[in-house]
Symmetry: C2
Subunit: 592 residues, 2 copies
């Protein structure tokens, strides 16, 4: 039976020692002192560890069940969901006027990690609502906001995103679902959507589907896509669930993981839908949901790595096999715990150094979102827009890899269901795929983001790394272990960007063939920067005599590990990028 | 529904164009002309594609069922197993005197890939027999050989390996299973063994368990372990199954993958066992099974990658999303097949270049085993002994990675059970764990193999690479794409070995902390050598005007991809190795 211990100490460290949030000028941050954030994380952690985590393995084993359009979630889910609603967790960062707590997105992210680590499949039921609420708040009418958002904040209604169809995933221009205008101003929605997470379930009294569809006569391709609210039950005059809409869950997907989340085929048969925003401008609204969802998926990736690591470590501390080099660490026992072996350490340090670095990047990114949204800061907006595909792609690839490493720590036990390690692998796997595969993320990064506004955000990123290094150049203790490798890695990233500029001009394939490596290169530089920031914070804490010393010493040791053993990957990615499109495209399609 | 097309063309190319086996001086190779091997591979491929592959998904879904000690395999397995027996496939490389076909191990490996790609879980039932037969042939008495091996060759009986116990996996010195000597010369075996693949099933009339146990009064640790034959039914005077032995399958493991193979808890309750070889020398006999099993597991790793790639490619050729850069490749259709996109190519080329390189390494290694066994060549024996952990560790890590890449090719479809891609991932995952985790492989490599006989085999490997490069140095067409990167990679491997020699002296942890990276570094150099050998063969074929030209051109393009985009990983592994033990061991165990 897997364990889950909320990493609140590490979160508090990031919020207060590294990001120093209560000293920030972002509106709402001043009240976030350590006692306050500690209380929130404590409550959320309790819910995660005591209510959600115990349902993770049972939910996986039981799965969801479909019967003639009705979906039953696993035992215990409804009760747990009601507790999440009662605690006000769903609207944590939603505005007060729709019933939310108006907390910063940063706090929402920290709480999100706790819930996702405890039970990813469960957390998706409310997670999907979040994107739907954001889209309605950003693009909906006042009446739509008033009708739908407070119910979703309360959790009595939930939300979904309906994009994919059998013939179209990445290429949304191929959408066929039709939206016929009706005399009353509504639309009749007809079509089939697939892979709709939480599309049907028994946790809420109503489900608010946000559906991409095509209004006849509009432009072809993605320029003719509109967004609609299509509720399962049409709200009556009092705003309560009224008439059943003409939509139905046609079946559930049988999947590798996240068994406890209902992945639905949704059939719309002339269902009543309400236009969100303008006709044919659906893609813009969709991207409001999508960008938020991408950051959320990046969080899922490392959150699965985090809980997997925690369990692998516990196993390595208990499992006795073989003896340490030199003196035994457990001389009275039949053998030493496997944690003594260098290669087991290597494996665990890979996990630990990624998870803590990823958590830092996620929190730092969340702070940037708060700066962008709460201060209307266009530079912060541009930076998080640049980093979104990196956070989604890198943190999910490495998060999955971390679950695989964690499973490996166990040896044979890791392959058995009882240990739970294999479920983390199966659940984490989807994060590399949904909300745009990681290949699509890399195209977004290289094909769109790095060149936006003449590359302004990318230049700002390089400047930020440079300023950081410059600000600490007098610190000899940081130089060899942190600043030198960070500068080398950042130089590799710049060289890759230069290569794209020079060679991408000659042929865009030269850039696109290296896009995946660029995304990873970028991710490593981000984590190198995070570890350097943490090193500064922990050195300062040690100099100030802060307790616990062991915590800060561990941070420095873990950071040095990342810089020495992970960051050199940037040179490999650069080498691959510089090999260009030729090796990738040389083989004729017919000769594969 | 996944497809399986036997890669017989590629196998024939390796056997005849690259290894040129019928010109070899190894006994039994002269008769292996292309017609002969083509006929064998054709028959085996037919069985794999038409009988085994259709049972792969159904076997996974149904799994094995245990009822009071009796295990039922999935529907269709018994019939398929009987066809394997009837074809004489189980004893393919066993000597004629025990009823085998006396084929080289090389042919056995090629056939093995076909069967494993088609249905890994199924193939383990007969695969485990192979190691058991080899152990009895190498260490058993004449009577044991006569009693057990012909039945196992015929497939009417099957074999198992019983090593692991709840408290001991890697550290076999902790074994507790007891073997009490009896007056009739047999032993009474008592204890519990876990994770016994094919430990109980309904495919054969008898099961021959090879069990490691401890004879009371013997030395402690692994020096007091003996090997026993413990049959499910004790052979009667005519050699037929007689009295039921006191052993029982206590249950099945619920696992991430290979559901169709029964992974058993085996309880021995004073069961009658027969000593194999000498008392307390069981580890030697166990290693006969184990080394063979490790090569077999390496093969499983890439074989799962091979079938996963094949399916991913088919999907990429059919799925229409987006348009190619430049001119559309499918202008009449709604979109182009995703194979046109550079990042999809990158993904597929990673898969293809690994699978074909791994197949070459496996065949080349199998030929070395034939040289070692059929010619008693100690140099070949030393070389394959050195390479065994590389083949097991590298080919399974990368094989698994390939199944993950293949799954990624599909996008969301890859996460659904129906596509089959996720089963390849789940099944391949075990190969990194069993028969010694890949961490243990790397310790075997660095802690034992590279230093054996003063490093003679390792030096011979470097000489082989050097001689190869020298023999082709005049070939300008090979230089940039193949020989230069091969030489650079081999230099990295030598530098890593030098580092171990110099720093490992100071502290063995410096070598052990880099062992995993060394195993991967070595694996890349091996595949670089294989691709260079294939490049020589394909260039010669093109120069000679051999058909099909497209096949040889594809080989060269795929090889150049590996050399340009995968081989540079050696520098990263070297950098990690050179960072030494300090970053890995710095964190105190108590501060994790």
């Amino acid at each position: 039976m897997p364990i889950y211990t909320p990493p609140t100490e590490d979160m508090q460290y990031l919020l207060h020692d590294v990001l120093k949030i209560s000293a920030s000028d972002i509106p709402g941050y001043a009240e976030l002192d350590p006692d306050f954030t500690g209380a929130i994380l404590g409550e959320a952690g309790k819910l995660a560890a005591e209510v959600l985590a115990p349902l993770n393995a049972t939910g996986d084993a039981e799965g969801c069940h479909w019967d003639n359009g009705v979906v039953r979630t696993p035992k215990g889910f409804k009760d747990a969901y009601d507790q999440i609603c009662a605690g006000g967790w769903i609207g944590l960062d939603m505005p007060g006027e729709v019933g939310g707590q108006n907390m910063p997105y940063l706090i929402n992210s920290a709480v999100g990690e706790l819930f996702v680590s405890a039970n990813m499949a469960f957390n998706m039921y409310q997670g999907l609502s979040h994107g739907a609420m954001s889209a309605i708040l950003a693009h909906g009418s006042d009446q739509q906001k008033a009708t739908y958002v407070p119910k979703m904040v309360a959790g009595t209604w939930s939300g979904t995103m309906n994009l994919t169809e059998p013939q179209c995933g990445t290429d949304l221009g191929l959408i066929r679902t039709r939206a016929e205008p009706q005399v009353d101003g509504s639309y009749a929605i007809t079509g089939t959507k697939i892979w709709i997470s939480a599309g049907e379930h028994d946790l809420t009294e109503n489900i608010v589907h946000l559906v991409l569809a095509r209004i006849p006569g509009g432009p072809e391709g993605i320029k003719g896509i509109s967004l609609f609210i299509v509720p399962k039950f049409l709200p009556d005059e009092d705003g309560n669930p009224g008439r059943r809409n003409a939509l139905m869950c046609g079946g559930l997907e049988h999947k590798m993981g996240i068994h406890a989340n209902a992945t639905c085929v949704m059939n719309y048969d002339g269902a009543t839908g309400f236009l969100v925003g303008e006709e044919h401008k659906g893609m813009r609204a969709m991207f409001t949901m999508m960008n938020e969802a991408r950051l959320g998926v990046g969080l899922q990736g490392y959150a699965q790595g985090a809980v997997a690591y925690q369990n692998a470590l516990a196993f390595a501390q208990e499992r006795l096999q073989g003896r340490a080099l030199g003196d035994p660490s457990n001389p009275e026992g039949p053998a030493d715990p496997i944690l003594v072996h260098p290669d087991v350490r290597r494996n665990l340090m890979d996990q630990k150094s990624f998870v803590e670095g990823a958590r830092a990047l996620t929190f730092w990114g969340a702070q940037m979102i708060d700066r962008a949204h709460r201060m209307q800061d266009p530079d912060a907006e541009a930076m998080i827009s640049l980093l979104t595909p990196v956070i989604k792609g890198f943190l999910t690839d490495k998060g999955f890899e971390t679950t695989v490493l964690a499973q490996q720590t166990y040896g044979g036990t890791g392959f058995t269901r009882a240990a739970g390690a294999e479920q983390f692998v199966r659940d984490a796997r989807i994060t590399m795929i949904y909300e745009g595969t990681n290949g699509v993320q890399s195209l977004d990064l290289v094909g769109r983001k790095i060149g936006q506004n003449g590359g302004k955000a990318l230049m700002a990123f390089f400047d930020m790394v440079k300023s950081f290094a410059k600000a600490h150049e007098a610190d000899e203790a940081l130089k060899e272990g942190f600043l030198d490798p960070l500068k080398a890695a950042s130089k590799d990233l710049q060289a890759a960007a230069m290569y794209f500029m020079a060679e991408g001009m000659k042929s865009p394939a030269n850039a696109l063939a290296g896009s995946y490596d660029f995304m990873h290169l970028f991710g490593h530089v981000c984590l190198g920067l995070m570890w350097s920031k943490m090193a500064v914070a922990s050195q300062a804490a040690l100099a100030a005599g802060d307790d616990p010393r062991a915590f800060h010493e561990a941070k420095l040791a873990t950071g040095r590990y990342y810089m020495a053993r992970q960051l050199p990957a940037t040179a490999l990615h650069l080498a691959r990028i510089r090999s260009g499109a030729e090796p990738v495209m040389a083989l004729d399609a017919a000769n594969f």
